[in-house]
Every structure is written in structure tokens, then in C-alpha cells.
């Protein structure tokens, strides 16, 4: 099966007052049609930048190298017009902040219909009918939610539903969800995730779920990568990574989750990975994780490790992966 989206050797650097800083380097992954794929990592590891690269919406001071293939085309070779036809139509994105991601001076109806009118050959009347259907399908029935409402009249969860309606309006092939529930209450979070899951499965879209939350990745994806300081450190099926994580960073991430049935002794504290994520302009020569790793070796500080296969699809970038035997 040909992947719908392929990211090859993607690196992104940013011009800053302190010079050119590389934020993500050599990212590789691919997404099959109908597949649900996750990227997990702490904030600042380059997850969102990866998503923006795919949308070709990087800020003006960013420089990108590598290739992104979408439906058999290298998006760097597309003209601005072709990119516009792709965005919101074949590939679309749900953003993190429902409070600020909607235009405060436009009605929700107008914001949903905009994509429809841009990409589909329909008139205003048809767009209105379709907009109502979309609102219904994201759980905002038109009987209670008029198309003429403004974003400030809705709650955070409702706004995120509008955002989802905008993203799925043209039934894209790939839906990117960048921390779609991070800004929401936990109870609302569950319902939004269910909604995304349901929509993706019903319309056979591919999902690229980006989150710092391992629980969300486990709940919504089939395959995943773990990112740390701009690199992919581990990849594989979600089951593989969850059951037998091999990178010390992934291991640390899992250990940092509190487990309700495990009794913590008075002196024992929840595990946290020692040290801090290195700043993008102060990353070490070797492995980015070397300074925080509990089993660091000489070689880790000299050259960064390449991705190697553990078994099947499960890969890791580490000289001393954790053994589960």
C-alpha cells in the first residue's frame, strides 16, 4: 500500500537573533491511508513544527530541508495555488487553542462555510445546508446552535467542535490534530477524542495525532513515534512501544505517569527524568538525551545514534536500548 503521507529526512531551522537554530532534524515517518498515527513528546520537541511543515505553513523565518510527499507529490514542488487547493481540502488541521484559533469577528457558520466555498463547487445555499450538517455531525445541533453565533458565545469544548467541523468540512484524506484537547477540561477532552475517533473511522481518513499525553496516543493511534529535542528517538506500533519501550527517554516518560493502584511509600516520589530538555541552540554533539540518560556511555556523547530495528516495525535511536528479556 502506498503511504498517503511520507516525511523523509525532514529538518527545520529557524533564523533567530542568535543565528540559525535547528529545531527538528531528520524526521522520517509515513502515514498509510486510513491509518491512525501518533507523535508524542514534550512541548518544544518539534511536534507542531512538523505539522506546520506538512501543511507548508512554516513561519517566514524558517528553513526546511528534506522531503514531504503527499499523495505521490513532493509538496515542495507545488505552487502556492496548488498548496492552497491541498490545504483544508485534502489535508487539514485541528489546532490546540480553541479560544484563539477561531476568528472572533466572524460567525461560526461563515468560518465553516469558507472552506466549503473555497474548495467545493457549490453555491452559498448549498454551503449553508452542508454547514448545518457538519455542525450536527460534531455534536452541535442546529436547533440549539445557530450558524450566526460568534466564537465568544461558545464554550471551549464547543469551539473545538467548530474547529473540527472546519477541518473535516471537505472530507480530507489526512487530518492532523495538534494537541486537540490540551486546552480543555478532562471531561470535555474524552468526548472530543471520541468525536475525532468516530469521524476518522467513519470517513476513513488518516489521522496524525500530536500530543504530549501518552494516554491520548494510546487511545487514538495504531502506530507512533516518540520525539525528543527535535529527533525521533523511538518508533513502532503503539502496542510495541507501550508494552516494550526500549529508549531510556520513552521509559522515563512512562515512569513519570502516576499509577493509581501502585502504593507510593512516604519517601518515594513519582519518577521524573533528571535535568532539562537542552535548548535548541545548545544541543549536545552526540545523543540529545545523553545528559539525562541513566545508562549513558562514552559513545553517546560523541556521535548521535542512528535508528535501528529492534524487531518488525519497532525502531530505536539508542546505543543501549533497554532490554526486556
Amino acid at each position: 500500500m502506498m503511504p498517503v503521507l511520507e516525511v523523509k529526512d525532514l529538518s527545520v531551522s529557524l533564523h533567530t537573533p542568535r543565528g540559525l537554530v535547528r529545531l527538528i532534524s531528520q524526521i522520517d515517518f509515513s502515514l498509510n491511508p486510513g491509518e491512525k498515527f501518533g507523535i508524542v513528546g514534550e512541548s518544544g520537541c518539534g511536534k507542531s513544527l512538523t505539522a506546520l511543515s506538512i501543511m507548508s505553513l512554516l513561519p517566514a523565518n524558517a528553513i526546511m530541508s528534506g522531503e514531504i510527499w503527499f499523495q505521490g507529490k513532493n509538496i515542495q514542488n507545488l505552487t502556492e495555488k496548488q498548496l492552497r487547493r491541498m490545504r483544508g481540502n485534502r489535508i487539514s488541521m485541528i489546532f490546540q487553542e480553541p479560544m484563539s484559533a477561531l476568528n472572533p469577528v466572524k460567525t461560526i457558520g461563515a468560518q465553516i462555510a469558507e472552506g466549503l466555498l473555497l474548495h467545493l463547487r457549490i453555491n452559498k445555499k448549498e454551503a449553508e445546508i452542508r454547514t448545518k450538517q457538519l455542525l450536527d455531525s460534531v455534536g452541535l445541533p442546529v436547533s440549539r446552535f445557530s450558524l450566526n453565533l460568534f466564537p465568544h458565545q461558545l464554550s471551549g469544548g464547543q469551539r473545538q467542535r467548530v474547529m473540527i467541523a472546519i477541518a473535516i468540512a471537505c472530507q480530507p484524506d489526512v487530518l492532523i490534530a495538534d494537541e486537540p484537547t490540551t486546552a480543555l477540561d478532562v471531561t470535555v477532552q474524552e468526548r472530543i477524542l471520541d468525536l475525532i475517533n468516530e469521524i476518522v473511522e467513519d470517513s476513513r481518513m488518516s489521522l496524525l495525532m500530536i500530543s504530549h499525553d501518552l494516554g491520548i496516543i494510546a487511545q487514538t493511534t495504531e502506530r507512533m513515534v516518540v520525539m525528543y529535542a527535535g529527533n525521533i528517538v523511538e518508533s513502532g506500533t503503539t502496542v510495541d512501544v507501550f508494552q516494550s519501550m526500549v529508549h531510556p527517554y520513552t521509559y522515563g516518560l512512562f515512569s513519570a505517569i502516576p499509577k493509581p493502584n501502585r502504593h507510593l511509600h512516604a519517601r518515594e516520589r513519582l519518577y521524573s527524568i533528571p535535568g532539562q530538555v537542552p535548548e535548541p541552540d545548545a544541543r549536545p554533539v552526540g545523543c540529545n538525551f545523553a545528559d539525562r540518560c541513566f545508562q549513558v556511555e562514552e559513545i553517546c556523547r560523541i556521535t548521535p545514534p542512528d535508528m535501528k530495528i529492534i524487531h518488525g516495525q519497532h525502531k530505536v535511536a539508542c546505543y543501549r536500548p533497554i532490554s526486556h528479556k
Binding site: 483544508g88 484563539s100 476568528n103 469577528v105 466572524k106 469558507e114 472552506g115 460568534f150 458565545q153 474547529m163
Partner: protein, 317 residues
């Protein structure tokens, strides 16, 4: 929205009343007796007293205030001390010059400033941005009376394209009338547009960083379309604020510009009335200008609400 309008209208009327009281009282306190000014310093005491009685100057303050307001509401503003013609007529003729001038100036300034500001923002830190901001800096630095003289020298004296001053009157036809207002309009508008362009640019730069611009782009909206359709309206609040302030300054600016161009407008009238102690005219003109400023604030409030639904009051789409 209806409640919002009602509230605004009430506060506008209250402000007008307060302004009229302040103007009336201040002009009463000011030294200078209109009667003695009209009759000269050698006037007899009886003649003076007779004139004061005729002008109603010996009545109590409150009665005279109410008579003034009553007159304003019925359109009878009394006669000018110096010109001896009805003040209402005097002002009406002058408004027909000043109001079109102010309106033309603010229109021209907006038409120049907003596109320039938007283009500068879209070209942030690129040559065109620097060019536009350079001109804007120049426009802010130049005083408008000096700019007015410069325009006169170039277009009236040297090139002889346009009249150097004076107003032919609307009876002479729209085109000649507009021609005589052209240089004053430009002299008033350009310095203002320099400031307005700056405000538009910085406001646009703020808005362009917003998440919803990225959302629009992710929908497939093009860069310029996102700029005009998504960013500009959000960027308008500070621009409208400055435009409101500028309109008030424009009224003051016309005093200078009308003198430079010899236009028979409100600005020149107020200048003459003050120097001749024509207190009735001064009082009415000051109230007129204050009322204009208050009304502009009212219009600005309504524009805010039109631009931004969040300012329309709660749950009132």
C-alpha cells in the same frame, strides 16, 4: 445591540448637556463685556446699560442659560454682536465649507492610510515596509500649515494648476467648489494619514500573529485573502480609535488651514469671533465643535460594536 445603542445615546445626550453648561459658565467668567466692546470705550453709562438690557445681559445666569438652550433647540441663535446678522445663518454658511472639508480630509486620509498600512505590514521588515514607514515618519514630522504653504507654492504659484486660496461657493458648481477645496484637503489629510498608516501597520502586525490567521491559511485561504478578510477587520479597533481622535484634531486643524487658504469656514469664523469678542458666536461655535466631538465618539462606539461582536453586549448576536 438595541440596549447598547440606547445606553450610548443616553450618555451622549448627558455629555452634551454637561458640555453646554461648562461652555456657558466659562464664557461668563471670562473678562470682557460685549456691550462695552460694541459701543467702544467712550460710551455713556446709560447707553451701555440700555444695550445690556437689550442683549439680556442683566438677567440671572440660569435664565440666560435656559434661553440660550431654548434658542438652540428652536434654531434661533440670536444676532451676532459684530456682524449684526443671525448667528444661525452665519454658522450655516460656514459649515457648508468646513464640514465637507473635514469629511473629504478624513476620507482621503483613510483611503491612503489603510492600504499603505496593510501593505507595510505584509512586507514587514522588507524594503517596501521601510519606504512606507519612512514617508510616514516624514508626514508626522511636518506641521500641516507648513505643508499647506508648500502645496500652495508648488501647485498654485509655480504650476498654477489650482487656486491658492478662497472658496468659490457651492453655487459655482460641484467641480469648481471641490477644486478650491482640493489643496486644503490634501494639506489636512496627508499628515493624518501618516499617523493612521502607522497605527494600521502595527495593529495588522499584531493580528497577523494570531492563531486564527493560521487557521484561515490551513483552510486554504490565500495570504492576501487572509490579510484582507480575516486580519483587517480585527485590526480595525485601534484604527477606528485613532480616526475618532483625528476627526477632533481635524476640527482644530481647520482653524489653521482655513486661515492659510483663506476659506470662509468655521475655523476662520471662530478665529475672527474671538478676536472681536463676539461672545454669542464664540459660545455657539464652541458648543458646535464640542457637539461634533461628542457625536464622533458616539459614532466611534457604534463602529466598535459593528466591527467586533464581543463589544455588542452579552449574548446579543
Amino acid at each position: 445591540m438595541r440596549l447598547f445603542l440606547l445606553k450610548r445615546m443616553i450618555s451622549t445626550v448627558l455629555t452634551l448637556i454637561v458640555a453646554s453648561v461648562v461652555i456657558f459658565v466659562v464664557l461668563e467668567i471670562l473678562p470682557g463685556d460685549p456691550a462695552s466692546f460694541m459701543l467702544g470705550i467712550h460710551a455713556e453709562a446709560e447707553t451701555l446699560a440700555a444695550l445690556r438690557a437689550q442683549l439680556g445681559l442683566n438677567q440671572p445666569l440660569s435664565i440666560r442659560y435656559l434661553e440660550w438652550i431654548g434658542g438652540l433647540l428652536t434654531g434661533d441663535l440670536g444676532n451676532s454682536y459684530t456682524y449684526d446678522v443671525p448667528v444661525a445663518e452665519l454658522i450655516r454658511d460656514r459649515i457648508m465649507v468646513s464640514f465637507p472639508l473635514a469629511l473629504l480630509a478624513i476620507t482621503l486620509s483613510t483611503l491612503i492610510a489603510i492600504p499603505l498600512g496593510v501593505v507595510a505590514a505584509s512586507q514587514h521588515n522588507k524594503p517596501l515596509d521601510f519606504l512606507i514607514m519612512g514617508f510616514s515618519q516624514l508626514g508626522i514630522a511636518i506641521p500641516n500649515f507648513w505643508f499647506a504653504m508648500l502645496l500652495t507654492i508648488v501647485f498654485a504659484v509655480t504650476l498654477r494648476w489650482l487656486p491658492a486660496g478662497g472658496f468659490v461657493g457651492w453655487d459655482a458648481g460641484i467641480i469648481p467648489a471641490l477644486t478650491s477645496l482640493l489643496l486644503p484637503t490634501v494639506a489636512l489629510a496627508l499628515p493624518q494619514s501618516a499617523i493612521l498608516a502607522r497605527v494600521t501597520r502595527s495593529s495588522m502586525l499584531d493580528v497577523l500573529k494570531e492563531d486564527y490567521i493560521r487557521t484561515a491559511r490551513a483552510k486554504g485561504v490565500g495570504y492576501w485573502s487572509a490579510l484582507w478578510h480575516h486580519a483587517l477587520r480585527n485590526a480595525m479597533i485601534p484604527v477606528i480609535t485613532i480616526m475618532g481622535l483625528q476627526f477632533s484634531f481635524l476640527l482644530a486643524g481647520t482653524i489653521i488651514i482655513e486661515n492659510v487658504f483663506y476659506l470662509p469656514g468655521i475655523g476662520r469664523l471662530i478665529f475672527q469671533a474671538i478676536s472681536q469678542r463676539d461672545l454669542i458666536v464664540v459660545r455657539d461655535l464652541v458648543l458646535l465643535l464640542s457637539a461634533a466631538v461628542i457625536l464622533i465618539n458616539f459614532v466611534v462606539d457604534i463602529l466598535y460594536a459593528l466591527v467586533d461582536p464581543r463589544l455588542r453586549g452579552f449574548n446579543d448576536g
